[in-house]
Amino acid sequence: MKETPLYQAHLRRGGRMVEFAGYALPLQYTSIKEEHLAVRRGAGVFDVSHMGEFFIRGEEALAFLQWVTVNDVGRLRVGRAQYSMLPNEKGGVVDDIYLYRLGEGEYLMVVNAANIAKDWAHLKALAQGFRVELLDRSEATALLALQGPKAEKVLQALTDQDLSQRKKNDVFRAEVAGKEALLARTGYTGEDGFELFLAPEDAEAVFEALLEGGAVPCGLGARDTLRLEAGFPLYGHELTDDTNPLCTPWAWVVKREKAFLGKEAMLNAPCGERLIGLVLETGIPREGYPVLSGEERVGRVTSGGFSPLLEKGIALAYVAEGAEGPFFVEVRGRKVPASLSPLPFVPLK
């Protein structure tokens, strides 16, 4: 198992370590519920150093990124970030990503840890026809995510930059606790917050400074319950190589007015199913549980769990396109009524 630069810090702080995407990472420190609520009400910090960081630069970086992503990179100004997806030739999704424009012809792409090797091979192959340079800095980059309504306050105490002037999806360089950092006002919890790209040797000092400033250390457990409440997709669950993004709530990310890999296939593929949010009266839905309409099985849960804010079981599920409610989720042999919920499941900023 690989270790992040914070491995020793996690052990020292009592992190319960588990394997995730080949890395040893904390599932939780104290309690998933406590950490979840700390992020919704205060500030929490996550070690997300396992994520992949690809730097893309060169004369044709923009043309290359327009071809290999579905969002319009032409609209991305320097110092801004956008959510996007890497399409494949058949109109499915290789990965969902965040793209940061750092300068003229200079971009940073953050990819899912489990997909680093796959994404790298995919992009390297497609880069053949472009004057573009790709650099995989995943191993050489530490990444912290500071999230929650008090994130700005915690971070402001550690930097001279005026954070109140930085909007959602801004990306900029700053010194944090005396260390050089690339900061982005982004995250995966539905809350305000910042992601801090750091040199591995600086990660622990910044992590400790954030904790001293009042942020709570949070593990993978809370990261997953927060993203589920926020109604965000998780690759391998809501998005896969076979998912047509136009058939998901994240279809907005696909910009039809530009050319990209697999566009025709994506536009022509029928959906067949749609993604819905469900809230259960009792019980906890888990991935793979059947979704029923009457007695008929019409779909499946792709992500499910307990919502610490609603104190109920919630699920993202794919159901057949024509399927109508009322829906039920089969929880360990029991048919449990499930009401449709808009996404996100809880009110967010």
Partner: protein, 128 residues
């Protein structure tokens, strides 16, 4: 880990406390800690007859669902309804307020087949 000496244990981390001709059943401190925040408990029906090792209840934490097995054969005579409102009692007091159900064993002598506190301690160490 806290392992009271007044009761019996299973390798699947249930405890059984004899009280008259019945036994109270719950999960151990080790089990509640491993599960994390308990957020939902599916209780058995009173009157249900169960065999030893049969899945009787389900304890769900934020991260996972776990079956709770009957330590011995018998009849479920009472369930801890407080868990419906406060499932976290299992985390807070696994050996007391967090009990799950009461069983009337078919034969109290079956309890002798279970582990005592030191046997459970050894099983935990062997598994660790």
């Amino acid at each position: 880990m806290d392992i009271p000496k007044d009761r019996f244990y299973t390798k699947t981390h249930e405890w059984a406390l004899p009280e008259g001709d019945t036994v109270l059943v719950g999960i151990t401190d080790y089990a509640q800690d491993a599960l994390g925040d308990v957020v939902y408990v599916e209780l058995p029906e009173v009157g249900r007859t169960v065999e030893a090792g049969e899945a009787v209840a389900v304890v769900e934490s934020v991260k996972t669902a776990s079956d709770i097995y009957a330590p011995v054969a018998g009849e479920v005579v009472e369930v801890n309804l407080a868990l419906e409102k406060s499932p976290e009692l299992i985390n807070q007091d696994p050996y007391g307020e967090g009990w799950i159900f009461r069983l009337r064993p078919r034969d109290m002598a079956d309890l002798d087949g279970l582990l005592d506190a030191s046997g459970y301690q050894e099983a935990l160490e062997a598994g660790a």
